[in-house]
Subunit: 628 residues, 2 copies
């Protein structure tokens, strides 16, 4: 990249986000629920509904439905997001007011300094840099540290409001009353989330709020078994494909379709610059696997990795604002031979890299031996541990085996050490697991990891369907979420086959939002069924537009309907192309209900039958007229 | 339609099946396992694999994998299927040899006779008609009747071989040994399926073989909790869309992608002729809801339905060869008001039609009052009852409610009556059910329906994602299958929105094959994991072609891979575009394993580490060379 091209065609000049990613959702408004501070405004989406026409012809209003919203300012038409300058730092003042951090003159890591000085990279750089912050000497700036001191932070208040969809306790109770009581397997889901409850859950280690002080753009969210089930989307380039602009685009796209966090798993070129663009523009926490970049720095030779190189990478990423680090510190030397007889060996990239290093040096990994030093870094920026499952099973055959369980117990020991440092921690899980062995994963994790939040990839419930692994894993994810898993890492249709594109990201996310919501219904998250009931009522009343607008993916719902019945008039029709007008059970059922209701109010079943016979033919509209 | 067009452009002259539907699967052969009779040949698919290249460079053969195959003769290159003449009647001689049936001069039903005489329909008619058969006076020709007399029919032997994939007991045991023991919730899954076991399960009412004596083209298959989980695909036109040729095409397409049975739910024009084309060309059992056609016959006016009209429809369809009838005989008059307060009332088409009829006449439905006469018809042709759940919940809110459970108990009573007549019977189930309420459905069904097989639609685990209801329901279907459901009725992405096209049929089927297979793994069907292990081993050894060929959908797996790495050379590559060559955990893990294996055989861990360090760089191929 020459200086000329940097001036003339730098990314700063050309980058933009697809308009599709920033359109407001149909019939939706971005609304904000206010906290106690003027600068605490929790965004969510309100879907407006059309009225119901009753049997008598009167119109009855339908309340709008509130939806948890991860898309940040991108879907607020009142905010003009410019990806070249990044999002507004909504947490900046909260961080500053705590007065336990300081602004640095520049990046502390050697690598970041080198990249900064490299003018050949100018064209790729995000230009509106904020100076990095760090805890003052001796300070611990983690939410866990505050929580244990009894401090309720604005971040905690924010997530409490967010989990309640901004509703008052009585309102939420009203929506919760009509839903099925859940089965939560011993979780402690509250009827209403208070900031104090959030604080307490964090203090106990049962929940985390991933938000690096260097990512003040992020909207606080909570990961824990007693809150809504969250989903993560993986993006990132590889040596084979993808560009910075594509990855930023994928991140925005992912938050549109419900990603609660995004992991940037780039392993290709310009990882540092790619990450800067992503973080500055991300309304959700960003996770990484620092080992990937460290390996890039030593030319892909695992044996050449050193603690110093890795440490410098942690600091580099910490000062950019990464909110959680996947660290495979549980891959211990003596566990590695346990994988030798597996069908699929070690399938975690980080796990296999560390296994290779351990074998080559015949030593415990530097992630394990330097774990307390890593804790020191984490607490100076408030980064969460996502303790990686380097030995997770990569096939149904290897599920729940000795290697996996041995590592899980080590992750539990490391959790205790992290907690001694007041570092927020969650635990990664499998992988590939047949349905009947899923619950054991959750039970063992709760037992050995002291209720630290669990974050699993799927699991895939069979290996036989490459190309559809969002589905094989969506099944496992829904069950794992029900059993208590706090965050589900999505799998796209391209899993095992290639790098996901935007369509794959969306397909993976919708699948995982389904899994997470199904889990919330089964666990009994108060008010979770509100959304379902609104869709079903709209469906039953042939409010087609409302049904589309309430769908997780309104565009696809509408397109599928319009494939066979494209005319606008069909959006009023009391049938669809599946059954046609004469066979619509919903339509007949409404007639039955109207008749039954009329009867109940008046006489007995006998009279009702007669009435129905008289009115039946009027209620029925001939097919010709409804189709026109 | 004029006579001229019948001669010049009749369907007989123009119809054909898309070549895509009849191509053999890649690297696959249709193989046949022989039974004791020369004419008992059970078709299945054998997927040939390439050899494994070991660390020493030697080649090790990989055994071919056998796959249960529903596609019949269409994927046998040695058989030239002509849809104008229909499939060969493979069960014809078995039926004839039992000597308890007789050929009729023609159709007995008034409607079929009228259609037959109507020359205006010539152009639509299937022309190679076989004369219908019926039980001799007083005879009962159901498999249940034979089973209870201790007779093992060729059909029973066929399904035993089929369930075992044609393997001998020791071979199957070898594949079963390496798999996880299942959790079957009290099912009685045998290590090896014998014809006698099949007979016994049918005699107990725990399994059914749907095969009308007038559908001798169908390959016997079994539906029962102690056998492989089956899936059904719904096809059929509606008043709004679709043609006969399209529906035949969909049926063949559905069997290609794994439909164990197909339901023809046509509600549009020419239902009689459409059905004839479908049955004559279907290698799998065909189910219908006779009520739909009966309603068409009385112009869509539910109140005008009569027992006589319905009875004539049953006989019409029985003599065409429909293998099972969905009959909503459990919708009793006093259950209907229980649906009045539901969010979505009655969502079953059959259920809502009967509810309307019951209310209009203030009588129990003719399906209920004439149930024993229906049994008489069923046993004269060996048609199974699929006792319909007319009051199934159509929303999460309505799951497991009073109306649903009341109907279920009635279905249990009707099952007993059907069994008194030796009529094979299974029970339909929901619908929309949140995850934590699914098991109650299975438990209640087992309890009230005396272990008759359960056949459920999904259930959908949330209502919020129209356009993705194959996934919301695939989650519920997998769980329901695990809990003991014998057959899963697929849901396509178009559910609630429109009539599925071929792509939707395939997407729905692959999703449900995943669910059914995940259920089989969890239940512990012997040998089920063989397929998974073969895929995973191929994946781990970078045998890309084998991975594609073993996939439920080889075409999509290959296409997704080739999207980013299209060159033929990449099919040999030890990486994919997800991680690129340096980050492939599978590749690193193989190196780790080779090193560990070498070490184990030789010295200790210490020496191994040194060796690994020396050889490491050789094992690693530079990215440039592998990418070329």
């Amino acid at each position: 990249m020459t200086k000329k091209s940097a001036n003339n065609a730098s990314l700063h000049d050309t980058i933009s986000v697809d308009a599709l990613s920033t359109q407001p959702f149909p019939a939706s408004q971005k609304v904000y629920a206010a906290g106690q501070r003027h600068d605490l405004q929790v965004g969510m989406r309100r879907v407006e509904l059309s009225p119901t026409r009753t049997a008598s012809g009167a119109l009855e209003d339908n309340e709008p439905v509130l939806v948890y919203d991860t898309s940040g300012p991108y879907t607020d038409p009142n905010i003009n997001v410019d990806v070249r300058t990044g999002l507004a730092p909504l947490r900046q003042s909260w961080i500053e007011q705590r007065d336990d951090t300081e602004e640095l003159a520049g990046f502390s890591s050697n690598y970041a300094q080198t990249r900064d000085r490299n003018i050949a990279l100018e064209a790729l750089k995000f230009q509106h840099k904020r100076r990095p912050r760090k805890a003052k000497a001796g300070a611990n700036v983690s939410q866990l540290h505050y929580a244990r001191q009894g401090i309720v932070t604005p971040e905690m208040e924010y997530v409490a409001i967010r989990e309640n969809l901004g509703l008052e306790q009585e309102q939420l109770a009203r929506y919760a009353r009509t839903q099925h009581p859940g089965q939560s397997f011993g979780a402690s889901i509250p009827a209403f989330v208070t900031p104090e409850f959030v604080r307490d859950e964090i203090a106990r280690g049962r929940a985390v709020i991933p938000n690096n002080i260097n990512h003040p753009e992020s909207e606080p969210m909570i990961i824990g078994r007693n809150f809504r089930t969250k989903v993560n989307a993986n993006i990132g380039n590889s040596a084979v494909t993808s560009s910075i602009e594509e990855e930023v685009e994928k991140m925005v796209w992912a938050t549109r379709w419900g990603a609660d966090t995004v992991m940037d798993l780039s392993t290709g070129d310009n990882i540092h610059e790619t990450r800067e663009w992503i973080i500055r523009n991300s309304p959700v926490p960003i996770g990484t696997v620092p080992l990937y970049q460290a390996l890039e720095k030593c030319g892909g030779i695992a044996e050449d990795l050193t603690w110093e190189l890795y440490r410098d990478t942690l600091i580099e990423q910490a000062e950019q604002g990464v909110d959680y680090f996947t660290i495979h510190a549980g891959v211990r030397l003596h566990f590695i031979p346990m994988t030798a007889k597996r069908v699929t060996g070690i399938v975690s990239r980080g796990g296999s890299i560390m296994a290779k290093w351990c074998l080559a040096h015949h030593q415990e990994s530097f992630l394990y031996t330097h774990f307390e030093e890593i804790c020191e870094i984490m607490k100076a920026y408030d980064i969460c541990f996502s303790l990686g499952d380097g030995l997770r099973p990569g096939s149904v055959a290897d599920a729940n085996d000795e290697a996996q369980m041995a590592e899980l117990r080590t992750l539990g020991e490391l959790t205790k050490i992290a907690w001694q440092h007041d570092v927020q921690t969650f635990i990664e899980g499998p992988g590939h697991v047949p349905m009947h062995l899923i619950k054991e994963n959750m039970d063992e994790q709760l037992k050995h990891c002291h209720e630290a939040p669990f974050y699993t990839l799927g699991p895939l419930t069979t290996d036989i369907s490459p190309g559809y692994d969002h589905i094989t894993s969506g099944i496992g994810a829904a069950m794992m979420g029900w059993y208590g898993c706090a965050m589900l890492c999505y799998v796209t249709p391209k899993e095992h086959l290639g790098l996901p594109n935007k369509d794959d990201v969306k397909e993976g996310l919708i699948t995982y939002k389904i899994a997470a919501h199904a889990a919330d219904l089964a666990k009994g998250i108060p008010g979770a069924q509100w959304h379902d009931d609104a869709v079903s009522k709209a469906r039953f009343e042939f409010r087609w537009e409302d049904q589309f607008n309430l769908a997780l993916d309104p565009d696809t719902a509408r397109a599928y309907h319009d494939e066979t019945l494209p005319k606008e008039g069909h959006k009023q029709a009391h049938f669809c192309s599946m059954c046609g007008p004469k066979f619509c059970s919903m339509k007949i059922s409404q007639e039955v209900r109207d008749a039954a209701a009329a009867s109940e109010a008046e006489q007995g079943m006998q009279t009702m039958a007669e009435e129905f016979r008289q009115h039946g033919s009027e209620l029925y509209q001939p097919a010709e007229s409804t189709e026109s």
